[in-house]
């Protein structure tokens, strides 16, 4: 009898006909796992749920996957946990994949634990590392205490082994050549009206203005030490001069100084890896540092020489952040003028 192949499934997310970026990041990890565990001859499948999303099925089939399970139905137009979990449960029980991966978005953080509870299996949240060990088990590395500690998690006795990954944890890997098989599933055998207890009334998404934090080469991050909304304006000026983006910590967000929660960096916000990160008035709590640790150069300005942020920096300045930002703005404008006149 042929040995069972290791089957890894990625549950992708689409909103209004667009794939969530995290889905491609997770897919890259699934392909990497199968390549790394070549002795197990694994395969990668994606599961796509939606309404009239054939073009996404086509797109996904080119990402180095073996299959695209595609379920199309008007009732699946928007993510909703009852309908999505019902379809996934039936597919998983039929095909019995070994590993199931999710993006830990707002929807993923609801769908993954829902499905894990229905399947009575284990789920590791917000993995920062995934590997297959010598026994063919998935080793999931997860953060706790805001990233202060990382722990390994296994799911040894139930199946599938489930894991979620936060957006931005992994960079997108190269799009592979080759074509996976598209398997169009019959929605009427996977979803029944009585599965659905909640009705989606409205889905509202806005495009945040300006350069997205996770795409900026320079991130100017501000914390409570900036002191006021007026001072915060200096960070925005600095980011504009450097063609970067402004990020924030939770305390600065709570003060109402920032552009909003979508600019928060850390374990409960964004992960950034700019060429240069400049932290201004940030103490450097573990949950913030976990979101910036892969940056190229890390600079921190903080009045407190003992602030933990200093230890996590390549360069640090023990001074008032407002004062240093003002001086830096002046210096950048001066050098730009020199460049123009030179």
């Amino acid at each position: 009898m042929a040995e069972k192949r290791l089957a890894i499934w990625v549950v992708v997310e689409q909103n209004q006909g667009k794939l969530a970026p995290v889905s491609i990041e997770v897919l890259g990890q699934a392909v990497r796992l199968v390549e790394a565990a070549s002795a197990l001859s694994g395969e990668v499948a994606v599961v796509l749920l939606g309404d009239q999303v054939e073009d996404l099925a086509e797109e996904l089939s080119a990402y180095g996957v073996d299959q695209v399970y595609w379920v199309d139905d008007p009732r699946l137009k928007h993510y909703q946990n009852d309908s999505y979990a019902a379809v996934l449960q039936r597919l998983v029980e039929r095909e019995k994949p070994d590993i199931l991966l999710f993006g830990a978005t707002g929807a993923g953080e609801e769908l993954a634990p829902t499905l894990a509870a229905r399947l009575s299996t284990g789920l590791a949240a917000h993995c920062t590392g995934l590997d297959i060990n010598a026994d063919g088990q998935l080793v999931m590395k997860v953060p706790a205490f805001g990233g202060r500690v990382l722990g390994e998690i296994f799911c040894p006795s139930t199946s599938p082994q489930m894991a979620s990954i936060k957006p931005g944890t992994f960079t997108v890997t190269e799009r592979r050549v080759g074509r996976g098989e598209i398997v169009r599933e019959d929605a009427s055998s996977l979803l029944f009206d009585e599965d659905i207890r909640l009705e989606i009334m409205d889905v509202v998404q806005f495009e945040p203005s300006g350069l997205p934090l996770e795409k900026a080469d320079v991130v100017i991050a501000g914390g409570y030490g900036m002191g006021s909304k007026k001072n915060w304006g200096l960070l925005e000026q600095l980011a504009a001069e450097l063609q970067g983006a402004v990020g924030c910590t939770r305390p600065a967000l709570d003060e109402g100084w920032t552009a909003g929660e979508h600019t928060m960096i850390g374990t409960s916000g964004k992960t950034v890896r700019p060429k240069v990160y400049l932290g201004c008035g940030i103490s450097g709590a573990a949950h913030h540092v976990a979101g910036i640790k892969d940056s190229g150069v890390i600079i921190n300005v903080n009045r407190d020489a003992l602030a933990p942020a200093h230890a996590y920096s390549d360069y640090c300045v023990t001074d008032d952040a407002k004062k240093v930002v003002e001086a830096l703005l002046e210096e950048i404008r001066r050098t730009k003028n020199e460049d123009d006149s030179g």
Partner: protein, 265 residues
């Protein structure tokens, strides 16, 4: 309206930088850390108290924690909850989110019936965000998490907004529901002196494995589908070169650093 609020005592998130791993034993050292109500759970409690003020009823706190956490539940009573149910047993130790949710769901059924179960969407310590959905599944209630707005009418109709990336999703349904609450929903009230005094007279029930009638193999580490392996403390330290001098000199050095990183042309 009968409302259960799931309350989790957690080590104070402001002190997580003090957490260490003992290099000899590989075990987490969290000694001396203050225990507080999980921050988002306070928003869940606030939402419950507001609903009680509008529609009447009672607010019960339910949680799973060592018996020493009773003071944290007392704090929840001082904020305004009516009674507390603390599930405490050595058999519960080491539980993952599913094994925890089994205990919580059983306690909710035993202390209930409840029309609404509210909790924080995420805990500050483990932070999986699994519990609202998993408790909902085990109770057989519809559920939503990352809730930033909700309207619940006395006849049991609910309209709920859940946060998504750069937006929200609005759903409509009926009670009973389990909702995972985010901090955007409201501003928690402070504890009043009256509240602290009143809390002393409010009942705190402590329930063991036997009280809940649960199977030992379904709870705690033994009943957890996920099992922990090694712990690490990520080393995020860098060289920490101190830039000294007047702000203007520092600014010149910084411009140099930006330039060598390929910024500013």
């Amino acid at each position: 309206m009968e409302i259960a609020v799931l309350l989790k005592p957690v080590p104070d998130p402001a002190q997580y930088d003090k957490i260490q791993i003992d290099p000899a034993t590989g075990i987490l050292v969290r000694k001396g850390l203050k225990t507080v109500i999980n921050p988002e759970d306070k928003h869940a409690l606030e939402a419950a108290l507001q609903l009680k003020e509008q529609h009447g009823g009672r607010v019960a706190l339910i949680g799973m924690a060592p018996a020493s956490a009773v003071e944290t539940f007392r704090e929840g009573l001082a904020i305004g909850a009516d009674e507390a149910f603390l599930c405490s047993d050595r058999a519960f130790a080491g539980a993952d989110s599913l094994a925890t949710s089994r205990v919580l769901a059983k306690a909710i059924n035993k202390a209930g019936p409840f029309a609404l179960v509210l909790c924080g969407s995420t805990s500050a310590d483990g932070g999986t965000a699994h519990v609202p959905s998993q408790v909902g599944e085990l109770l057989g209630f519809a559920h939503l998490t990352h809730v930033i707005q909700m309207e619940i009418s006395p006849d049991g109709r609910a309209t709920v907004r859940a946060k998504m990336e750069n937006g929200y999703r609005e759903s409509r349904g009926r009670l009973p529901l389990v909702l995972g609450i985010r901090r955007e929903l409201n501003t928690p009230r402070y504890i009043s002196l009256m509240g602290i005094m009143a809390a002393q007279g409010k009942p705190v029930h402590v329930w063991s494995l036997n009280d809940l009638g649960l199977d030992k193999g379904k709870v705690g580490l033994a009943g957890s589908p996920t099992q922990p392996g090694k712990l690490y403390q990520p080393d995020m330290k860098r060289k920490g070169e101190v830039l000294q001098g007047e702000a203007r000199e520092v600014a010149q050095r910084l411009v140099g650093i930006f330039r060598s990183a390929g910024i500013l042309g």
